[in-house]
C-alpha cells in the first residue's frame, strides 16, 4: 500500500519546513472539516507530523506530544484521532478511500510516539493495470480505462473457439439457406415471363413453366429443411458454449472467498449462472441463425434491387431510415424506461412474495394477513399498470412502423405499373422486384431492434465475466503442500479485521495442544467466530501467523486443510437429498457402515432407524421434516465422518433445549476425545469439560486458564458465570 505519495514542489516545500528535510510518510487527507474534498496531505517526518493543503501548512505537531493515534471510521468518512494532554483530539478528516492507509499511519505514529521500532506488515498491494498503469477495480483484474465492448465480444469468441467446427457447419448451412431463398423471385419472374405473359413474339413455354414451378417448390422445401438443420446445429453449439460459461462461472464462484460471496446476494449469483448465460446462449444462436442471415440478406437484396431498377429501389428504401429513426427514438426515450420500470416493479413484487411466503408464520402470528393482502394488491396493480402502459405504446408503435415500411411497396406498384404501361418494364421484372422488395422488410425491421438486444446481451456478458474476473482473496501457491494434521494450533501475534482498518482480533498469542479442548468465551462481537474462521483459513491474517503443527497455515493446501477440520455451526445447513447423502457430504466415498458409525457417535442413529425410510429418508428443504435437535445430530455425524483432526463447534447446541443438548453434548464428548477442539458457547455450562477457557474481550485475550483458575481470578469469566447462574 502506498504510504509515500509524491508531493507537488509547493507542498513539498511547506512539508519540509514543517517536519524537517526528510519526509518519512505522506498520504492524502482529502476531506476538510466542513465536508469539502481537498488536495490535502498528511506528512510524517522524523519527529513531527504536518497537514499541508495547497502549499500551505494548516497544522503541525510533535508526534510524541500525543499518544493513542487511532482511526475512527464514521459513516462515509473517517477521522484520525489522538490523545493529547489527556483529552482526545481530532487531527484530520479523510474519505473512505484512504482509511486503510491511515490505519497504517496511526500504527506508525504510535510506534514513533513510544520511540519503539516501527513494525508494520504493509502487505496490502495496490494493483495496477499492466497496460495503462492506472488502478484496477478492487478484487478484479479489470482496469476501468482499458475495457470496451469489442473486448467483451472477443472474450466470448475465445470461449467459443473450441466449437469452431460446428460453428463453421452452421455458417455453411446458413449460406446455403440464403442462396436458396434468393432464387425464389427469379423463378417467379421466369414463370410470368415464360408462360403467363410471354414477351411479344414469344409463345408460352411449358417446359420453362414446369422448371419455374419446380424451382419454387424446391426452394420452399429445401429452405425449410435447411432451416431445420441450421436450428439443430446452432442450438447444440450455443447450448454447449453456454454450458461452458455456466461451468466457468460456477467453478469461479466455488473458488471465491467467503468475504466476496457473503457480500453478494445468492439470487444475484444464481441469475449470473443461469439467466445471464441463457441470454448469452440466445445471443450466439441469434448471431449465427438470424443476425448474419439478415445482414447478408439486406446487402444482397439491396444490391439486386439497385441492379434491377435503381429508381424503384430508392422508393422501397426511402421510408426505412425514417422508420428506423422513429423506432430508435421511441425505444430510447419511452419504451426502454417503461419496460425497465415494469421489470423493477416485477422484481419488487417477487422479492416481496418471497419474503412474505417464507415468513408466513410471522404474518399469521401477528394476525397481519389482511395487511399483507393489501400490500400484495398494491404491488400487483402497480405491476399491471406498468405493463399496460408499456404494452399500450408498444402496440401502437409496432403496426405503425410496419405500415410505414410497407408503404414503399404501394409506391413501387404505383410507379411499376406506370413503367409497364410505358413499356420500360415487363410484368415478370415487376413481380421479381416486388419479391425482392418484400424480402428487405424482414432484415430492416430486425436491424432496428438490433441495438436493443446487443445491449442486453453485452450486459449479460459483462455480468458473467465480472464474476469470472473476480480474484479469490485466499490463494494456494505453488509452494502449498499437503499436511497431515496432528492438532497443534498456534496463534503468533495475529491481528485481523475484515477491513484492515478495523481490527477484530488484536495481537493474539496462544497455543492449543493436540487433543486439547478450548472453550472460547466472550461477549457478542468480541471476535470468537472470527477466530475460528481464521483457523479454517476462510480469511488470511493481516499481521502475524497461525501455525498448525509448527507450519504456517498459508503453506498448507486449502482443500487439504479443510478436509481435516470438522465444523458444526449453530444453524444447521442440510441439502435436499437423503440422510445418507447428507452425512456422506464430507466423505462421499464412505461406506454404509462408516455412515452408521458416524451417526452412532453423533447420537443420531437411534432416531434415524425409527424413521420409516431409515437412512434413505428424503430431507425436505433444509431438513424441515426433522426437529432442530435431529438436524443438528446429522450435521455432527457429517462433521465426524471424515475423522477431522481439528473440530470446531460454533454454538453447536445453542438453539436446543436442555434435554436435547445433553444428548448432543454426550455425543460431542465422544467425538472430542483425541481431537483438538475449539468450541464457542454462550451457555457456559456447555464448556464445563473444556481443558482451558480463552476469554476474548474486544478482540484481545482477556483471560486464559481452566474453569477453576478463572473462577478464582474473579474476572470477566467469573462475572459471566455468576450472571448466568443468577438468571438460571
Amino acid at each position: 500500500m502506498n504510504l509515500n505519495y509524491e508531493l507537488s514542489e509547493q507542498d513539498q516545500l511547506a512539508a519540509r519546513l514543517a517536519v524537517g528535510e526528510r519526509i518519512h510518510y505522506c498520504v492524502p487527507a482529502d476531506l476538510s472539516l466542513e465536508g469539502k474534498r481537498t488536495l490535502g496531505y498528511f506528512v510524517v517526518g522524523k519527529e513531527k507530523w504536518a497537514y499541508i493543503q495547497n502549499g500551505e501548512l494548516i497544522e503541525s505537531c510533535r508526534i510524541a506530544d500525543a499518544c493513542d493515534y487511532n482511526v475512527v471510521p464514521l459513516i462515509g468518512n473517517a477521522i484520525l484521532e489522538a490523545t493529547q494532554d489527556h483529552t482526545k483530539r481530532l487531527i484530520v478528516r479523510i474519505s473512505m478511500q484512504h482509511v486503510a492507509r491511515f490505519a497504517y499511519i496511526a500504527q506508525i505514529l504510535n510506534y514513533m510516539a513510544e520511540g519503539s521500532k516501527i513494525r508494520i506488515y504493509n502487505n496490502e498491494t495496490e494493483m495496477v493495470c499492466p497496460r495503462c498503469g492506472g488502478g484496477l477495480l478492487p478484487g478484479t483484474r479489470l482496469c476501468p480505462k482499458c475495457m470496451n465492448k469489442a473486448a467483451v465480444l472477443k472474450r466470448l469468441l475465445d470461449v467459443s473457439k473450441s466449437h469452431w467446427k460446428k460453428l463453421s457447419l452452421g455458417l455453411f448451412i446458413l449460406f446455403l439457406t440464403l442462396v436458396v431463398a434468393l432464387t425464389g423471385p427469379y423463378f417467379q419472374k421466369l414463370l410470368v415471363n415464360s408462360s403467363l405473359q410471354p414477351q411479344p413474339g414469344e409463345s408460352p413455354s411449358l417446359s420453362l413453366f414446369f422448371l419455374a414451378i419446380f424451382g419454387m417448390l424446391f426452394g420452399l422445401a429445401a429452405g425449410e429443411l435447411l432451416n431445420v438443420a441450421k436450428g439443430r446445429v446452432m442450438a447444440t453449439v450455443s447450448s454447449t458454449i453456454a454450458a461452458d460459461l455456466r461451468k466457468l462461472v460456477y467453478d469461479k464462484i466455488q473458488s471465491l472467498s467467503l468475504g466476496f460471496l457473503t457480500s453478494q446476494r445468492a439470487g444475484d449469483l444464481m441469475n449470473r449462472i443461469m439467466a445471464d448465460t441463457g441470454r448469452i446462449q440466445h445471443l450466439i444462436q441469434e448471431i449465427f441463425t438470424t443476425a448474419i442471415y439478415q445482414f447478408i440478406m439486406l446487402v444482397s437484396v439491396t444490391f439486386l434491387l439497385l441492379n434491377t431498377d435503381w429508381k424503384l429501389a430508392l422508393i422501397v428504401l426511402v421510408p426505412a431510415p425514417l422508420v428506423a429513426y422513429l423506432q430508435i427514438t421511441i425505444w430510447r426515450r419511452v419504451l426502454n424506461r417503461l419496460f425497465r420500470k415494469q421489470w423493477q416493479v416485477n422484481d419488487k413484487a417477487n422479492s416481496y412474495l418471497h419474503d412474505v411466503l417464507s415468513g408466513i408464520r410471522v404474518v399469521k402470528m401477528f394476525g397481519k394477513e389482511s395487511r399483507e393482502i393489501k400490500r400484495f394488491r398494491q404491488y400487483n396493480s402497480e405491476y399491471a399498470a406498468a405493463a399496460v402502459h408499456a404494452e399500450k405504446i408498444y402496440s401502437i408503435l409496432a403496426p405503425v412502423s410496419t405500415y410505414l415500411l410497407q408503404l414503399g411497396t404501394y409506391f413501387v406498384l404505383l410507379v411499376g405499373c406506370h413503367m409497364i404501361l410505358k413499356g420500360t418494364l415487363n410484368l415478370g421484372e415487376l413481380v421479381q422486384f416486388t419479391g425482392y422488395a418484400s424480402m428487405i422488410f424482414g432484415p430492416l425491421a430486425w436491424l432496428m431492434n438490433m441495438p436493443r438486444w446487443i445491449a442486453n446481451a453485452v450486459i449479460a456478458i459483462d455480468r458473467v465475466f465480472s464474476v469470472i474476473d473476480e480474484e479469490p482473496e485466499i490463494l494456494d501457491t505453488k509452494h502449498s503442500v499437503k499436511h497431515s494434521i496432528h492438532g497443534n494450533v498456534q496463534f503468533c501475534g495475529v491481528t485481523f479485521g475484515y477491513k484492515s482498518y478495523e481490527p477484530v482480533l488484536k495481537n493474539l498469542n496462544f497455543e492449543i495442544k493436540p487433543g486439547e479442548m478450548i472453550g472460547l468465551v466472550g461477549h457478542s462481537g468480541s471476535g470468537k467466530s472470527t477466530l475460528i474462521n481464521l483457523v479454517s483459513r476462510f480469511y488470511d491474517v493481516n499481521e502475524g501467523e497461525i501455525l498448525i503443527d509448527g507450519m504456517d497455515i498459508r503453506k498448507i493446501q486449502q482443500e487439504d486443510l479443510r478436509s481435516q477440520i470438522g465444523v458444526v455451526l449453530q444453524e444447521t445447513l442440510l441439502f435436499s437429498g437423503s440422510i445418507i447423502e447428507n452425512i456422506r457430504y464430507s466423505k462421499p466415498e464412505a461406506t454404509m457402515e462408516e455412515v452408521i458409525q458416524a451417526a452412532k457417535i453423533a447420537n443420531a442413529h437411534d432416531f434415524i432407524i425409527q424413521l420409516p425410510d431409515g437412512y434413505d429418508t428424503k430431507l425436505e428443504e433444509n431438513g424441515n421434516n426433522l426437529s432442530g435437535g435431529e438436524r443438528q445430530r446429522i450435521t455432527i455425524a457429517r462433521a465426524v465422518l471424515h475423522n477431522p483432526r481439528i473440530l470446531i463447534l460454533d454454538e453447536a447446541t445453542a438453539s436446543l433445549d436442555i434435554d436435547t443438548e445433553s444428548v448432543i453434548q454426550e455425543a460431542l464428548q465422544r467425538i472430542m476425545k483425541s481431537r483438538t477442539t475449539i468450541a464457542i458457547a454462550h451457555r457456559l455450562s456447555t464448556l464445563r469439560n473444556a481443558d482451558r477457557l480463552l476469554v476474548l474481550e474486544k478482540g484481545k485475550i482477556a483471560e486464559i486458564g481452566t474453569h477453576r483458575e478463572l473462577m478464582q481470578r474473579k474476572g470477566i469469566y467469573y462475572n459471566l458465570t455468576m450472571a448466568q447462574r443468577n438468571i438460571g
Partner: protein
C-alpha cells in the same frame, strides 16, 4: 398494553407514559440536565447531571427520515449516555454545534448534478457535481449499493465505502433520471 403514541414530526411529539416507556427506561438529555461543548481537540463533550463525558459521538436513529430526532449520544466505547429527543429542544448555538457533529459523522455529499453514469462489467462509473465538489466514483452493481432509502431519496455507496445522496429523484432532469434509474 397502552398504545404508544409518538410521531416523527419534529414540531410536536405526543408521548404518554406507557408500559413500554417504563420498560425501555430511555434516558433523555434535555437542556436542563445536559451541557454540550466543543473540546479544544474539535470533538464533542457532554456533561450530564454533573458527570463529564470528555468525548461523545452522535448517532442518529433515523439518519434518512429525520436526522434531528432521537439522537443517541454515545461514548467511544459505544455506551449510550442518553438520547436527545429533538434538536429543537436546545438553544440555537447548541443546535448548530450538534448539527455540525451529525454532519461530520454522517458524511454523504449531496449530488446536485449527475453528469454521466456508464455501466460495464458489473460496475457503474459516476461523474457528478456534489456539495463536496466535482467527483468521480465507481459503484459495484448489486448488493444494494444504489438504493432508495425513502420514496424519493437515493443512497449511493461507492467501492471504498463513501456515500452520496440524491435528495429527491423527482428533481433530476429527464436525462439524469434515465441514467440513475439504470443503476437502481
Amino acid at each position: 398494553m397502552v398504545k404508544v403514541e409518538s410521531t416523527l414530526c419534529s414540531q410536536e411529539i405526543v408521548e404518554k407514559k406507557t408500559d413500554l416507556s417504563e420498560a425501555a427506561r430511555i434516558h433523555y438529555l434535555t437542556p436542563e440536565n445536559t451541557e454540550f461543548a466543543l473540546t479544544e481537540g474539535k470533538l464533542l463533550s457532554v456533561r450530564v447531571d454533573g458527570e463529564l463525558y470528555p468525548v461523545v459521538y452522535l448517532h442518529c436513529s433515523f439518519p434518512h427520515s429525520n436526522k434531528r430526532m432521537f439522537i443517541s449520544v454515545r461514548t467511544s466505547e459505544n455506551q449510550e449516555v442518553g438520547m436527545v429527543k429533538s434538536l429543537d429542544e436546545f438553544p440555537v448555538d447548541i443546535v448548530r454545534l450538534l448539527d455540525e457533529q451529525i454532519h461530520m459523522r454522517y458524511f454523504a455529499p449531496i449530488i446536485t448534478k449527475v453528469i454521466n453514469i456508464h455501466e460495464e462489467f458489473g460496475y457503474s462509473y459516476w461523474e457528478a457535481e456534489t456539495t463536496a465538489g466535482h467527483l468521480q466514483f465507481t459503484v459495484r452493481r448489486g448488493g444494494g449499493n444504489v438504493k432508495m432509502v425513502s420514496s424519493v431519496k437515493v443512497l449511493i455507496t461507492d467501492l471504498d465505502g463513501n456515500r452520496f445522496l440524491i435528495e429527491d429523484v423527482n428533481q433530476l432532469s429527464e436525462k439524469e433520471y434515465r441514467m440513475v434509474e439504470m443503476s437502481l
